[in-house]
Symmetry: none
Subunit: 152 residues, 2 copies
DNA sequence: CAATATGTGGGGGAAAGTGGGGAATTGTGG
DNA sequence: CCACAATTCCCCACTTTCCCCCACATATTG
């Protein structure tokens, strides 16, 4: 029931993006096609089925609203969380605010990430990936504890 | 039933602001279109359905009135709280005091934040957001406990 | 190679957003 | 108490955006 894998997709002049067919049926039955798209710290977009998003939002709302970091996260994530439905052709219309945020041009990449999907501009995705590969090589032994004990 | 997402809106020469259509019906039935707008410490405006505001106000009133911070908050929030109704076209008229406080010019931004909505001057919002993105990138591992265990 | 499914593009009607004129209301000063 | 000014609110008209629908192009399958 988790999302995984990568898809090349295109965003048309109106800002529409076709959801890959293999996800559609699942999205329709699990959440009636009601999706939420928001932003991520790494300048990509996150796409959740509405029920999954509501769990996240609940956690965010519980954070103390006088805490500066907490409000910052709430404004970024909840503030950009946009409810979207698929149209009859299985496409979603990404608001221009979100497209601008992620620097989305015509060619984009859709990444399955468990409960959610990530939407990247293709160019950004490629350069980011190169950087990660390089940095993973670089810092040996500097991993936080929780990562150290991870066995793949 | 929570507010989320972002809208670009414009404030006209008379200080009026159109409430996005998708919120209108909800506001009419949940509170008869009776809203309360007040100020926030971050120089934006907060907009609540009247019943939601009354809960907040109650909490504020309960704060110890000898505490300096508490009185400060009470004066800011309760002091600026203004009751407003939507007009026949679904617009609200923002008092000039509040517009000045938030530095609202023609282009503004409306941010859903759970029980409330935030109203920002567009320029202020953009510069603030850049700062947040930078600070979120910067402090890894310095997050408060409650944020650390947040998995998105 | 036909036949069906998927991806892509665009036209057009409906709805929402925007702006301004003018009547009604409120407030102010004489 | 009245006259004048300022503000608020309702209405109408224009512009922009959104969304539904159709058409074609490309890919997949039998």
């Amino acid at each position: 029931m988790n999302f995984r894998g990568i898809n090349n997709i295109s965003v048309d002049a109106k800002g529409r993006m076709a959801v890959p067919a293999r996800y559609r049926e699942r999205l329709l039955e699990s959440c009636g096609g009601h999706l939420v798209v928001t932003v991520d710290r790494d300048y990509c977009l996150l796409m959740y089925p509405l029920p999954e998003w509501e769990i996240i939002e609940e956690k965010l709302n519980r954070l103390p609203s006088l805490n500066k970091q907490a409000r910052l996260l709430q404004r970024l994530l909840i503030g950009h969380a946009t409810e979207l439905d698929m149209d009859a052709q299985g496409r979603i219309l990404l608001p221009s605010v979100l497209r601008d945020f992620a620097g989305l041009k015509k060619k984009a990449v859709l990444i399955g990430q468990g409960k959610k999907l990530e939407i990247w501009d293709e160019e950004t995705w490629n350069t980011s990936q190169e950087e990660w590969m390089a940095s993973v090589q670089a810092d040996d032994g500097e991993l936080p504890l929780s990562l150290e004990e991870l066995s793949l």
